[in-house]
């Protein structure tokens, strides 16, 4: 049993951290840094991670992909790796493996094409993925109509992986739809509140028969895997942000002086920093646990993912708020790394499932997560 990174993972982590370091010191998040940062990640070959070696990819394990997400977390940047590679990429890699979509996968690996998963819908909280977007069979294919919400980095995606119900079936299918297609309209939130998200409308969008890439049974199972991975990836990103906040806070306590003494000499602040650290370790543990459980059967996998999101969400709220408090006013600014990390960490608490949704999910299981 090993709880630490392998040598390869450590190398990946260090390389990536060094590359992202440059962005940590940018004084504002108002400009759109995504294209530049994504270019750097592409140069490191990261978009190839989810794809099989026979398709020209790296065939990286999901654990390796989590290493990337955690490093991104430390940078406070919102980058498309999660929606493009871990979530939609994972599904596409599985469904289109073995050469019959080599052109698409090649352009995804080259970083020219980007995917996002268009699955959530407006006002669908606690609806557990019931999909209202409809696909109707027509000559040579299907017509899609509906609205998708919280499509991450939807404004810079080239393809959407869209879940839609075929002929009113309870379980959705998956379609691959070009973002520039006729009838597709994208409204971005402009990165507000620390998340790049779009609403995407499909108004009678024609999709050729060949772009239905998963039928209901297969699609549903795949979506459940993808969403659990998304939860775990979010948890890793949060752990990364928390690690950085912890370091910044401890450094600041050593540096800042008031009343002729460093803040770190005040015992009440030492204790706050210690409580933050304890939460960080709890969060790290759940991230490791949930990653390992991604290999378990569906029920246990899902329970671990939501339990991790719940724990890390709580730890993050406490750690983030305390980090800002201990910095004083300087921690509230957009110019400070602390402010930007806190903003992103706050938003992440709500992505894929918030605390109440996690509680509802755990409460709906007959067995305790303590029984294994």
């Amino acid at each position: 049993m090993s709880f630490t990174y392998t040598d390869e993972q450590s190398m990946l982590d260090e390389t990536l951290t060094a590359v992202l370091e440059e962005f940590c010191h940018r004084s504002t998040t108002s400009e759109d840094y995504r294209a530049v940062a994504w270019q750097k990640l592409t140069e490191l070959g990261l978009p190839a991670m989810p794809y099989a070696e026979i398709d020209g990819g790296l065939g990286s394990s999901i654990a390796d992909q989590m290493v990337v997400q955690r490093a991104i977390g430390r940078s406070a940047l919102d980058l498309p790796f999660l929606p493009n590679s871990i979530v939609a990429g994972g599904m596409v890699a599985f469904l289109l493996k073995g050469g019959h979509a080599s052109a698409l996968i090649a352009s995804l690996i080259a970083g020219d094409a980007k995917l996002s998963f268009a699955h959530d819908e407006p006002l669908d909280r606690h609806r557990n993925g019931v999909v209202a977007t409809a696909a109707t069979p027509v000559d040579g294919g299907f017509v899609l109509s509906g609205v998708k919400s919280r499509v991450l980095h939807g404004d810079c995606a080239t393809y959407f992986l869209v879940s839609a119900s075929l002929g009113g079936a309870p379980e959705p299918c998956l379609f691959l739809v070009p973002a520039g297609g006729k009838g597709v309209s994208i409204a971005s939130n402009g990165g507000r509140a620390g998340v790049w998200a779009s609403d995407v409308r499909f108004d009678d969008v024609f999709v050729p028969a060949g772009e239905l890439i998963a039928e209901p049974a297969e699609a549903s199972a795949l979506i459940r895997v993808a969403l659990d991975r998304a939860l775990v990836a979010t948890v890793h990103e949060m752990v990364g942000a928390m690690e950085r906040l912890q370091d910044l806070t401890v450094d600041y306590l050593k540096l800042r002086k008031q009343f002729g003494a460093t803040l770190g000499s005040f015992q009440c602040l030492q204790h706050k920093a210690v409580d933050m650290y304890v939460e960080l370790e709890q969060a790290r543990s759940m991230a490791i646990y949930a990653t390992a459980m991604l290999a378990a059967d569906e029920d246990d996998r899902n329970a671990a993912a939501i339990a991790a999101k719940l724990q890390v969400g709580r730890s993050a709220r406490f750690l983030g708020e305390t980090a800002v408090q201990l910095h004083g006013a300087i921690g509230m600014t957009m110019e400070s790394e602390t402010g930007r990390l806190f903003r992103r960490l706050t938003a992440l608490q709500f992505l894929f499932a918030d605390g109440d949704q996690c509680l509802a999910g755990l409460g709906a299981r007959p067995a305790s997560i303590l029984e294994d």
């Binding site: 504002t28 108002s30 959530d120 407006p122 006002l123 909280r125 606690h126 609806r127 557990n128 919400s149 919280r150 409204a187 971005s188 939130n189 402009g190 507000r192 509140a193 620390g194 998340v195 998200a197 779009s198 609403d199 002086k257 008031q258 009343f259 002729g260 005040f266 009440c268 602040l269 708020e321 800002v324 408090q325 004083g328 006013a329 921690g331 509230m332 600014t333 957009m334 110019e335 400070s336 402010g339 930007r340 806190f342 903003r343 706050t346 938003a347 709500f350 992505l351 918030d354 605390g355 109440d356 509680l359 509802a360």
Partner: protein, 390 residues
């Protein structure tokens, strides 16, 4: 039912409530309710309506617009303003520099500044904090040197709220570098239009422009702009901070926010039912409501005590500040949780809808309430020392 207010006090409350709802434009109150930032014009408009009805500065001395209200009436006034989502009269004018000038200023200063402050003809900002003088305010370094024409002021202020709107800044400056910390500080009024004053914006993590850096580079300030005596500024600042702390619990505001949370949670769908029916969520709201109730009566007890004489700040007011800011933050958390991931939808101008990023930004913004006005840690230090004698 209210167990302690008299019939007359209840009538007083209802009249104010009706007045605020009727006279202050709904457009402005909706912004306050949603936590959306206000424009300068909103604050000016609202304060001028209040002032026209003698309600901008009821706590000032009578000759400058005060109303001679009892502490209970004042508390009711503040609470009703907040519950009806009326912007508070500009703190810097009405609760900070105004009372200081009224208590310690010259007759000429009173005549020149007080009526304009009450009507928000002059916008004041507070130049206390400096990069190295936050909680330890007395370590401030901005210096004022006497010359033939007046004081020459140099230094840097920071976190100056709304300096971008301000006509005047009241500053703590060091006039006697040889004296020990608190001694040697003076209270100066500085025209923001003076040569040598530069304002640089600071954007906070909520994306808003509320605070600034203010650089003072050899700014000439006439002697007549000194408040009270030279080197006595610390006493005036203490008086000001005690005033600032009163009403800082913002119980009315938290109540208004919680009422909004309830309203929105009933409209927000969670699966097949409203979010309000989700036990885990509702339990958190109810808990906060009970805590607010407790704080409301703690505040009443503090008020009842301050009725009997003494002008020294009641150390119990630190409890109000500490708990009050925790509850303001708790209310902002609940607002954010109602918005949930819907808050990441593209902006909607309708702030009554749940899909509003404003709730997130307000949560981020409200981290400030446990930092300014004496941080929560500083309040705990005060309580430990003055109440628990530790």
């Amino acid at each position: 039912m209210h167990p302690f207010y008299s019939a007359a006090e209840l009538r007083f409350r209802d009249e104010l409530r009706d007045f605020f709802r009727r006279e202050i434009p709904e457009r402005i109150r909706a912004k306050v309710s949603a936590g959306q930032p206000l424009e300068k014009a909103d604050l000016v408009e609202s304060q001028r309506i209040l002032n026209a009805h003698g309600l901008a500065v009821p706590h000032w001395p009578k000759e400058w617009g005060g109303r001679d209200w009892t502490p209970v009436q004042r508390a009711i006034f503040t609470e009703e303003l907040q519950r009806t989502a009326v912007p508070l009269p500009l703190q810097f004018n009405c609760y900070m520099v105004g009372p200081v000038i009224a208590a310690f200023g010259s007759q000429a200063q009173k005549e020149r500044f007080l009526p304009r402050a009450a009507n928000l003809d002059d916008w004041w900002c507070q130049g206390f904090s400096e990069p190295d003088a936050g909680s330890d305010l007395a370590s401030l370094k901005t210096k004022a040197v006497r010359t033939a024409d007046g004081y020459l002021v140099s230094g840097q202020k920071i976190w100056t709220t709304y300096a971008q709107y301000a006509d005047w800044i009241f500053c703590l400056v060091r006039t006697d570098p040889a004296a020990k910390k608190q001694a040697g500080i003076s209270f100066l009024l500085i025209d923001m239009a003076s040569p040598g004053v530069t304002v640089r914006p600071i954007i906070t993590m909520d994306g808003r422009h509320e605070v600034n850096e203010v650089f003072l580079d050899n700014v000439l300030v006439p002697f007549e702009n000194l408040v009270g005596e030279e080197n006595k500024g610390w006493d005036y600042a203490k008086y000001l901070l005690a005033n600032e702390r009163a009403g800082i619990a913002r119980i009315g505001l938290s109540k208004e926010r919680i009422a909004r949370v309830r309203r929105l949670a009933r409209q927000t769908r969670a699966g097949d039912r409203p979010l309000w029916d989700l036990e885990t969520f509702r339990a958190r709201v109810l808990q906060v409501e009970v805590e607010l109730k407790a704080l409301e009566f703690t505040q009443m007890r503090v008020l009842a005590e301050s009725d009997h004489g003494s002008h020294a700040p009641n150390p119990m007011s630190s409890i109000l500040k500490l708990k009050g800011s925790q509850l303001q933050q708790a209310a902002s958390e609940l607002m954010m949780e109602v918005a949930g991931a819907e808050g990441f939808s593209p902006a909607s101008a309708d702030y009554e809808t749940v899909s509003s990023a404003v709730a997130f930004e307000t949560y981020l913004n409200f981290r400030k309430v446990s930092i300014y006005g004496g941080s929560n840690e500083i309040q705990r230090n005060i309580i430990a020392k003055t109440i628990l004698n530790l």
